[in-house]
Amino acid sequence: MTEQGETGEAITILLVEDDAPTCWRLQDALAKAGYEVRSASTLAEARQALSAGAPRVLLTDLRLPDGHGVELIREMRQRFPDTEIMVISALGDEESVISAITVGATGYLLKDAFPTDIATTVRDLVAGHSPISASIARFIVRRTQGAAQTSAEPPPGPALNTAKLTPREIDILWGIAKGFSYAEIASHLGLSKQTVPGHIKNIYRKLEVHTRSEAVFEAVQQGLIKL
């Protein structure tokens, strides 16, 4: 069985992980599910692999021998905006995951996840379903509360701008943080169950820190800068 994209070609995944056993484990799980996996153990190798063409999915560890995964994610978002990006994390702690989300990653994959879960997560990601974990949702909604209180001290943890989130999106995040399923959230909020993943995707995009050129464009749009 081979996982195929809309064009019928095999879905390519670039896996960047410096710990060999972990790398084998993930590669095995994904290959068994039918994905075409290329692996790299350093940033340099990853960049080299990218020269051959853009993968459909990038799975990257953050701590790499020659740099930080965040750099790779940022480059990827600029060069290949269509590539889905996920972080590989040992603990799924917000410190690493949020910093990856702000440069364009969509969620994370636990290094010890069961092989079936690994494959399912990547499949959902490719299908346009952006998974978000309860702990990350919790971190984001706690941060929206902190922003409302306008405390003088910046909150602990990585920087995160939640100003663009709509009340509806924040409600969805609350639901996820409290462990409700998409169906339960949809029924509580009077939504269709199918629209929830779209909202989550929007949340990811809104949390992404824009590049400088995007910031200038937005400022011009809002009339803050006159050219």
Binding site: A90, L91, G92, D93, E94, D112, A113, F114, T116, D117, S133, A134, S135, A137, R138, F139, R142, Q145, I176, A177, K178, G179, F180, S181, E184, H188
Partner: protein, 640 residues
């Protein structure tokens, strides 16, 4: 022994008093001598070349030759006054300037006529009517009156008792020769008192304002009153006896004893004494003179003044001298010293005047008490103003000091607050470290040890995998529980649901999740990470039991909120459809030892955070019911 101890300090004290009092008294004696000498030396000199002292006086119908200065008897009637007749020689060669008649001192009033024509009547000069002011008189003799050679001069001396009448030597001569002596006396005995009185008036206003603004400082009020009285006495026109009944006379006469009593009051207050009640008696003579002056006829108040008022003045001055002497001994400061010296001078002048009045000392009847008293008041007033300004300076510097002190105290407070905060933070950190250690020890530590043991035994991969997975799960739990969830347990349960679902998926067990209310469990602001970790571990244990020992296919987690009237509380139930386990009578599992230990663990964890664990198990499944408290305890309820 105690007597000796009590007496011992008195002797040094006495010695101390003596050592302070004796030099002071010696100094006062010196001041007395200097004052007397000063009065003698500063006696204004008169042009003796033009003195006319041989007169024939007609008094009470009797005519006899007299030599001036001359005293007449005291009288209370203006009718038939003593009449002095004398002669002087006029030489027209000297008449380059006009000739004048000059009377340096008389009491109480004179009417001077040359060759039968009146040239001077002192009763029309208000100043001259004050017997305490030594006012001189001068009058130009019209040239037409003067004859070459002998001329006649007559003086009528009006006396209104009780003092004897007095007429000093009369001078007749060229105006240019007489006038400087007259001017000197005017300056000393007329202008100077007016200047002092004006000064006194200004000080009275200042002191009165001070007293009005600071009512508790009655010392200013007392002195201001004394000064106002002095000013009134100095500027009010004295009544001249044909205008017999004058109420003003009473005021003027009463002023001196009242003023002196006020000065004593001032002294007492100034040196910080309490004004004794009987001290009011000092005012009685003055008030008596005043009242009798209002009611009685003209001679009576004057007699009373002489009998009562003047001794009162003396008594007051003496009291004041005593007060200042005591103050000098006690305080040894400049203010008491200065006032003491001033009082001595005034007292000396008063005694000098007494001697003059009693004709013990012939002093041309020049009275100096009033002048010296005015000078003393002005000095005291200036001193008080100086003291007030100094007090203001002290207030300023005190305010400055206060600001500095407050700032220092603030700094100290800030520092101690920072220290306290630091200590609290350190304590919190230490507590957290203890908790983390315990949590890691409970879970991760044991699991890692078991991994080591399993690897050493060369155990099969699956067991090691399970142990390692459990260790990772526990690590995530510990990290997760440290997050600030703002008292909402649902946020912790949300993460747990994810982990539990992932754990159950390989076993093909479904996790049913049912939250009875949309908002989930009630909020617990007192919820701490270690509460969360205990609750999550209980749920983990329940799920693990269901998977490992009961072979359940379905696990349901139900989250409910109840309210029995004492505030809402949550209940979390974990139900499985497994084979269950037999419960012994004591509520513990009779089966496998591991399950029994697991159940005991769950109970003790529940007890630690004030929750109640309820177990029901039979062949159709097991139900773990965890009833959360309404309020989570601050510290471990059961240590274990």
């Amino acid at each position: 022994m105690s007597e000796i101890a009590a007496k011992a300090p008195t002797r040094p004290r006495r010695r101390l008093i003596a050592s302070r009092l004796v030099p002071y008294l010696l100094l006062q004696a010196l001041i007395v001598i200097v004052t007397i000498l000063g009065i003698r030396l500063l006696q204004p000199s008169d042009p003796d070349d033009y003195a006319v002292s041989d007169f024939s006086a007609r008094e009470d119908g009797l005519t006899r030759p007299v030599t001036l200065p001359h005293f007449t008897s005291s009288r209370y009637s203006l009718a038939d006054p003593p009449f002095y007749t004398g002669t002087f020689t006029f030489r027209s060669g000297d008449a380059a300037s006009g000739w004048s008649v000059y009377l340096p001192r008389f009491s109480n009033a004179v009417e001077v006529a040359v060759n039968g024509v009146v040239v001077l009547d002192s009763r029309r000069d208000a100043n001259a009517n004050r017997s305490d002011r030594n006012t001189p008189q001068i009058a130009v003799i019209p040239a037409s009156l003067l004859r070459e050679g002998a001329n006649e001069i007559t003086v009528r001396l009006f006396v209104w008792g009780p003092l004897k009448g007095f007429l000093d030597t009369v001078y007749v001569g060229p105006d240019a020769a007489l006038r400087p002596a007259y001017e000197t006396r005017t300056l000393l005995f007329v202008t100077l008192p007016v200047v002092f009185s004006a000064w006194q008036a200004i000080l009275a206003v200042i002191l009165a304002i001070m007293w009005l603004m600071r009512r508790h400082e009655s010392v200013y009020g007392v002195l201001a009153t004394a000064m106002v009285l002095g000013v009134v006495q100095a500027f009010a026109p004295p009544p001249v006896p044909p205008a017999t009944v004058s109420h003003l006379a009473a005021v003027l006469l009463a002023s001196a004893p009242i003023e002196s009593a006020l000065i004593v009051a001032f002294g007492a207050l100034f040196f910080g004494w309490r004004w004794p009640r009987y001290g009011t008696l000092l005012f009685v003579p003055g008030l008596a003179v005043f009242v009798i002056g209002l009611i009685g006829g003209p001679p009576l108040p004057r007699i009373l003044f002489l009998m009562l008022g003047i001794p009162t003045v003396g008594l007051c001055l003496f009291l004041m001298a005593c007060i200042t002497a005591i103050a000098v001994v006690r305080r040894q400061d400049a203010a008491s010293f200065m006032i003491g010296c001033a009082v001595t001078i005034v007292l000396t002048c008063w005694m000098q005047d007494m001697l003059t009045v009693l004709e013990i000392v012939n002093n041309d009847r020049i009275f100096v008490s009033r002048l010296s008293y005015s000078a003393m008041l002005v000095a005291i007033g200036a001193g008080l103003t100086w003291r007030f300004a100094r007090a203001l300076n002290q207030v300023d510097s005190f305010a400055g000091q206060l600001v500095t002190r407050v700032r220092e105290a603030e700094e100290r407070l800030k520092a101690s607050f920072a220290r306290e905060e630091e200590r609290a933070r350190a304590a919190a950190l230490a507590n957290e470290r203890t908790r983390l250690m315990r949590d890691l020890h409970d879970g991760l530590g044991g699991q890692l040890v078991s991994i080591v043991a399993l690897s050493e035994r060369g155990s099969a991969g699956a067991t090691i995998t399970d142990a390692a997975r459990a260790a990772l799960k526990d690590l995530r739990l510990v990290i997760d529980s440290m997050d600030d969830i703002g008292g909402d347990l649902m946020l912790a349960l949300g993460s747990w649901r994810e982990r539990a679902t992932a754990q159950l998926r390989p076993h093909d067990i479904t996790l049913d999740w049912r939250v009875a209310t949309p908002q989930g469990l009630p909020l617990h602001p007192e919820l701490r990470p270690w509460h969360v970790i205990q609750i999550v571990r209980i749920l983990d244990e329940a799920v693990t039991n269901a998977v490992k020992h009961a072979q359940a296919r379905r696990i349901a987690v139900t989250i409910d909120t109840f309210d029995a009237g004492q505030g809402p509380y949550g209940v979390i139930s974990v139900t499985d459809d497994g084979s269950g386990f037999a419960l012994a009578g004591n509520g513990e599992a009779a089966g496998a030892g591991q399950t029994a230990r697991g159940l005991r663990n769950m109970k003790s964890r529940a007890a630690r955070c004030g929750a109640v664990l309820d177990l029901a198990s039979d062949a159709s499944g097991t139900r773990v019911r965890l009833k959360l408290p309404q309020r989570f305890p601050d510290s471990d309820m059961a240590v274990g």
